[in-house]
């Protein structure tokens, strides 16, 4: 009975030791794991390393998607959020002062869009606006999401605080290819020939 008890005690001690060792090893590796996938960084004025691509790590910033905000309920209202999306359409003047612009951010494949209210300086970072044949600049925007904005007569918007360019836009113009027009030209010629035959038959009947 006593032998069995001492065997159990030894086993428990071994497990405890193993867990302590594992915890110590993880603690030692933690800094390396935490910064393993960091993007580009820069040395700030105060000597701190600033990572411009750093994803949110504080509890009051919600890294979310435009699709989520497109179906957001009151939980997201007035929260600080961060989204990434393609700029589409135009830079629309906000008010008469010209200090701010309305930008439309689109989720991949245009699944959802979001109105972003930003300063003209932030909007100046946008090099391309998405439209047919053009992929707009991809922006990362951090700001306050309003389900019903009190400053803009109830529109659902995001007031940008930090705007950074993730990827510049690109143009992919349509190239003229004669082969593309052959099926259309053939059908038009056949159709016109049929029409001519119709009028010929009708005239013969008269």
């Amino acid at each position: 009975m006593r032998a069995a008890y001492s065997t159990k005690l030894r086993t428990s001690r071994r497990i405890a030791c193993a867990l302590v060792a594992l915890a110590a090893a993880l603690w030692a590796c933690a800094p390396a794991l935490a910064f393993a996938d960091e993007g580009p960084s820069a040395e700030g004025d105060d000597g701190n390393t600033v990572n411009t691509q750093q994803l949110p790590d504080s509890s009051f910033i919600y890294d979310t998607s435009i699709v989520d905000l497109g179906t957001a309920d009151t939980y997201y209202d007035n929260q600080t959020v961060q989204v990434v999306g393609e700029v589409v359409g135009d830079s629309i003047r906000a008010g008469l002062s010209g200090g701010h612009r309305w930008i439309t951010l689109a989720a991949p494949a245009g699944a959802a869009t979001l109105s972003v209210y930003m300063s003209s300086e932030s909007a100046a970072k946008i090099d391309t606006y998405g439209k047919y044949g053009t992929t707009g600049t991809t922006l990362q925007v951090r700001g306050t999401f309003h389900l019903v904005c009190p400053d803009h007569d109830g529109v659902s918007d995001l007031h940008a605080e930090v705007v950074s360019v993730v990827e510049p836009g690109s143009h992919h113009e349509d190239e003229f290819e004669f082969d593309r027009f052959i099926p259309g030209a053939v059908t038009v010629v056949i159709g016109l020939a049929m029409m001519a035959v119709f009028y010929w038959i009708r005239e013969r009947r008269r």
Binding site: R180, T187, G191, R205
Partner: protein, 505 residues
């Protein structure tokens, strides 16, 4: 005894459908030229192919009857009924080939939605759609808003049988005695208003920072969509995209003009403004909108979000005008409609769409004229109940002159009212059967049958195909105001039943 189609009828109907298909090839030239002008070669090739298909189909159908003769009423009814769906199939071809639709059915949904001026859309990535495709979407609104037959008649495509065709498209009033001249006047009024609106909107869009070409195209498209009470918009955020109160104000005016009977438009143009204000439809509209605006304002003020006056006026008023005119423009998101608006406000918008605008306008829904006539018939019933037995009760109303309320007018109004309500109810049940919330199912059903086009989110790529098909049917039936469609369906069923003895009149 039911009438049925003979082989001769089928050949004549086929011939005239062919004429309309050929006409659609002319309409397709507009996006084709747009594509060439904007250097959009891939869309240009698609539109050239579709023009070819339309010419082949049109010419082929015309061979069914070389000399078709005059259209009778039954044939005209069939031509009108089939035209809306046949042209939708042709219109869908370039949209489907654009790669912006998950399936052909989705593209067909947009084709029918465009032609019936419903305005609901299943397009994906709209913000990257080519100018040519957008031009075609708004051309569909233009053709459908005026009426396919009206446009065809204004071009003089149907020399004989014009009157029967005109009546079969839900229009019975002549602005001027001649049908072709009437259609030309309707088209002229629409073109002048759209032209003026396009100029003003272009200026506003340029002021907001848009490039001149984009500003002009956007202005043209939203002007067409607004006056035709269509609802398509060139950007996925609808009118909210512009963040401009002046644009919203101008569009509200356009939607209001679009929801007024063309007969009244012509009276105002002739300087008879008093006729407009005395009209039964105008008075019903003022009363109806006044009551519903108060109800929605009370409902919005109960919610914390839209209770402040500027938000209520800007968002609430725009949505009221957009809903009653069955346009479907939005300056709030679909998400806001379902999460922020109270269920009361949500249902008020549905009721506004259900009733719609004036008869003989570009709007859908039951129409003010019918609501006014039904109310007048209630007044007549009360008067009859209170009058002595020997008295003959006469109730009259104003509609381009004084008219006596006749039993056949009341019967028509009641019948169409009931058919609309039944269609709304069936559509809601179909939505519920697909597992959706009852309020959303009711809202979407009303939006489809009334050609309102506002969506609470049910209409999206990936929706059940059976529901999509039903909504296509609802849009088609609602645009033709049921009678044409029902008569057509009955006639086809009877024609396919060889045992039934039929006596031709």
């Amino acid at each position: 005894m039911w009438q049925r189609f003979s082989l001769y009828d089928v050949r004549v109907i086929g011939h005239y459908l062919g004429v309309l298909a050929l006409f659609s090839s002319l309409a397709l030239l507009v996006p084709f030229v747009t594509a060439l002008a904007c250097g959009e070669w891939e869309p240009a090739s698609r539109y050239l192919l579709t023009i070819g298909i339309a010419v082949i189909v049109g010419s082929g159908l015309r061979f069914l009857r070389i000399d078709p003769g005059r259209l009778n009423r039954q044939q005209a009814l069939a031509v009108t009924g089939f035209a809306w769906i046949a042209l939708a199939f042709i219109a869908t071809v370039p949209l489907h080939l654009s790669g912006h639709y998950a399936s052909y059915l989705d593209a067909l949904f947009d084709g029918v939605s465009g032609l019936t001026t419903t305005g609901a859309s299943l397009v994906q990535d709209l913000d990257h759609l080519s100018n040519a495709d957008n031009m075609w979407r708004f051309m569909m609104h233009l053709l459908g808003g005026l009426g396919l037959i009206v446009v065809a008649l204004s071009f003089g495509l149907f020399g004989r049988g014009a009157s029967a065709l005109y009546a079969s498209e839900g229009r019975s009033e002549h602005v001027v005695p001649n049908v072709v001249q009437t259609t030309r006047l309707i088209a002229k009024i629409a073109m002048v208003i759209t032209f003026i609106a396009t100029i003003v909107l272009t200026g506003l869009c340029v002021f907001m920072g848009m490039e001149p070409l984009r500003a002009f195209l956007h202005a043209l498209w939203i002007a067409i969509s607004g006056f035709m009470t269509g609802g398509f918009a060139p950007m996925s955020q609808s009118i909210m995209y512009y963040h401009s109160f002046p644009i919203e104000l101008l569009l509200m005016l356009l939607m209001l003009l679009g929801s007024i009977n063309f007969v009244l438009h012509s009276e105002v143009w002739k300087g008879r403004v008093a006729v407009f204000f005395r009209d039964l439809e105008t008075r019903t509209m003022v009363l109806w909108l006044g009551v519903m605006a108060c109800v929605i304002a009370a409902s919005l003020s109960a919610s914390a979000e839209f209770s402040d006056l500027p938000a209520m006026l800007r968002r609430g008023l725009f949505m009221v005008v957009s809903a009653f005119s069955t346009t479907g423009f939005q300056n709030i998101t679909s998400n806001q409609m379902t999460t922020v608006l109270s269920s009361g406000a949500f249902l008020v918008i549905a009721v506004l769409m259900a009733v719609g605008g004036s008869g003989g306008s570009t709007t859908g829904g039951i129409k003010f004229r019918r609501i006014g006539i039904i109310m007048k018939s209630v007044v007549a019933a009360i008067k009859e109940a209170l009058a002595p037995d020997s008295a003959r009760v006469v109730v009259s109303y104003n509609h381009v002159g004084r008219r006596v309320l006749a039993p056949d007018v009341v019967k028509e109004a009641m019948m169409v009212f009931i058919l609309y309500v039944v269609t709304y109810a069936i559509g809601a049940l179909v939505g519920i059967a697909h597992g959706y919330e009852a309020t959303q199912a009711i809202f979407e059903s009303v939006a489809m049958a009334s050609s309102g086009g506002l969506s609470s989110g049910l209409i999206s790529p990936g929706m059940p195909p059976t529901l999509e098909l039903f909504y296509i049917l609802q849009m088609w039936a609602g645009r033709l105001e049921f009678v044409t469609l029902l008569a057509l369906v009955v006639e086809i069923v009877v024609s396919l039943n060889p045992r039934r003895l039929v006596q031709r009149s």
